[in-house]
């Protein structure tokens, strides 16, 4: 690795802000008693664990564990259990992202709880100080703790944010600057924790004796290209400090589906944005169906060019929860256009819009329909899906479907759901004006 990378010489800096155990943190804002206690949040239908507080992680509760498998630990350690409350999480996500965006306007929302920023323009304020201010402000305004990683490339920023979470001494902000600092961070990061590597690739690379991000960054580029193709080569270059991923390039993870586009020109009218957003939503719906997944959260964002005159500049986005986990274009398009109406303001030259789906889960929870094929049946299940898609293409959507889709009586289970504190007047926080019972009035 050269001692100064091109990005470093250009003094460009990316940040990634990531909410700590986001769903758990949302529950804690309205129920501070949960701070310091182990908490878990369950997937749709109270199926399995999808978020854990640090205390729950320490108890060994793994991500994705089915609820019935951890009843024991939950009982023994008094773990607080919550059904997922997407109306709450979606609203809190909007608040966090808007607060961050107000302090660093060049923002790319990456998922419900993560966003990238280009902080290059904040050099003179001191990047670490500015990021620390962002973190403090979000915590004060919304109650949500975030970790911020700062580095020359997005991949390194992501790695820095992960490291910031692990190291309590850095106060939630970690900046990777200088070759030594970067090298140390790479050496202490497991390969599979690198953004864009994933399990498949890390197994493949383990055969080559590659264990850490540092090992990977030091591999001969030709070998990386041969083993992992051009995408792998990009990840390696990013780790070496070469910027390959610009701010708006979105490569969705499995948990997020994002469809967005920059327009070639300024778009002012709500109608044109509606059209764009509707097409994004329906594209996202077919992606979902291809994966056999459903989404519970939908975000719409619109923004002007960061180079627009400051009076004309605008960034807006809102996250909402869908009435139920959905994968059909109808539901998603309707929701997206309602969200757009809510955030649209006329008079701005919009250059970009997008739809982001979150809280993505398998449509058929384990134990239903596809277990038909047993463990080795994945290929067959896929073949069946394809046949169904083709039949539906030819004879119209819904001509052939899984019996499970017809059980209209099926209602999601959510026994442990908290109130929708921020989106329903009936369910807002109830606060006693007095902490202790009043003395009995004398005249009764």
């Amino acid at each position: 690795m050269s001692s100064t990378s091109p990005a470093e010489r250009g003094a460009l800096m990316f940040a990634l802000a990531d909410c700590n155990n986001f769903y758990v943190s949302c529950e804690r804002v309205f129920n501070p008693m949960l701070c310091g206690r182990p908490v878990v949040v369950l997937s749709n239908n109270d199926g399995c664990v999808i978020a854990r507080s640090e205390e729950s992680k320490a108890l060994g509760i793994a991500m994705g564990t089915p609820l019935f498998r951890c009843r024991d630990v939950i009982g023994r350690h008094g773990v607080a259990v919550f059904s997922s409350n997407y109306p709450l999480y979606g609203d809190m996500s909007s608040r966090v992202m808007n607060t961050l965006g107000a302090m660093a306007p060049e923002q790319e929302r990456y998922s419900i709880d993560e966003a990238f920023f280009d902080l290059s323009g904040f050099r003179r304020f001191g990047l670490r100080e500015h990021a620390a201010l962002m973190r403090r402000t979000v915590l004060k305004h919304t109650g949500i703790p975030v970790s911020i990683g700062i580095a020359h490339t997005k991949t390194l920023a992501k790695l820095a944010a992960k490291a910031a979470k692990k190291d309590p001494s850095c106060g939630g902000v970690l900046m990777l600057e200088g070759a030594d600092r970067v090298r140390r961070a790479l050496a202490s990061t497991h390969l599979e924790d690198v953004w864009g590597i994933g399990r498949q690739w890390s197994l493949k690379l383990a055969l080559q004796g590659i264990q850490t991000a540092a090992d990977f960054a030091g591999m001969p580029p030709a070998l990386v290209r041969r083993l992992l193709g051009v995408t792998g080569a990009k990840v390696q270059a990013e780790l070496q400090g070469h910027r390959c991923l610009p701010l708006e390039l979105v490569r969705p993870m499995k948990q997020t589906i994002c469809t967005s586009r920059s327009f070639g020109r300024n778009v002012f009218s709500v109608e044109e944005l509606q059209e764009a957003v509707a097409s994004f939503a329906s594209r996202a719906a077919s992606k979902l169906r291809r994966e056999g997944s459903t989404a519970s959260l939908l975000t719409v964002f619109i923004s002007t060019s960061p180079f627009a005159a400051s009076a004309l500049r605008r960034e807006a986005s809102r996250t909402v929860s869908l009435p139920r986990a959905a994968d059909d274009a109808m539901t998603l398009v309707t929701a997206a256009s309602r969200v757009l109406e809510a955030i649209y303001q006329g008079g701005h030259p919009y250059r970009k819009a997008g739809v982001l789906l979150g809280a993505i889960a398998p449509k058929n929870p384990p134990g239903e329909s596809f277990l038909l094929f047993g463990d080795e049946g994945e290929g067959r299940a896929e073949a069946l899906q394809q046949v169904m898609e083709q039949v539906n293409l030819r004879y119209g959507n819904g001509s052939i479907r899984l019996a499970a889709e017809d059980s209209r009586a099926w209602e999601p289970l959510c026994r442990h759901i908290s109130p929708r504190y921020t989106t329903s007047w009936e369910e807002i926080l109830r606060v006693p004006s007095a902490p202790q019972a009043p003395p009995a009035p004398a005249h009764r």
Partner: protein, 150 residues
């Protein structure tokens, strides 16, 4: 109706730019001379938006419903809705939603000889001293109280 001015950092001003500028329209004093359309009606229909009047920092504002009457003399009654702004810094005299030893409570913040006090607004209740050993945080500052009067 205006909130008292509070300290803004440079960056929160970005945030305010996000709110659209209120239109400087003449007030509807012409409305009393009913029948004649006012010339002001030619250009824009505008409604008064309570959100804009009561919520200065939308992303930091939350609502809560009051149980109990310990703040009745401050005009906060059972069932009222509080508008709570988390972005404000607490100062003496503020009414705040506090979290104290495992419970939420709404109280006025006071200082007594350098000691933080939570003051009820109801003579049947006594003030609470916040000592070193208390588990205490100010959750947010109450900016408005919405009270139903019929």
């Amino acid at each position: 109706m205006r909130l008292s001015s509070i300290h803004h950092t440079l960056f929160l001003d970005f945030y305010r730019a996000d709110l659209s500028v209120p239109l400087p329209l003449p007030l509807a004093e012409t409305a009393v001379s009913a029948g004649f359309p006012s010339p002001a009606e030619d250009h824009l229909e505008v409604t008064l938006d309570l959100n804009r009047a009561l919520v200065r920092h939308p992303d930091a504002t939350f609502y809560a419903r009051v149980k109990g009457s310990s703040m009745i003399e401050a005009g906060i009654a059972e069932g009222d809705i509080l508008v709570i702004d988390r972005s404000l810094d607490a100062k003496e005299g503020d009414i705040a939603l506090c979290f104290l030893d495992g419970e939420f409570t709404v109280k006025r913040i006071a200082m007594d000889d350098g000691v933080l006090m939570l003051m009820p607004e109801n003579s049947a209740y006594s003030p609470i001293r916040i000592g070193e050993e208390s588990d205490f945080q100010v959750w947010g500052i109450v900016t408005y109280v919405i009270h139903k009067s019929r």
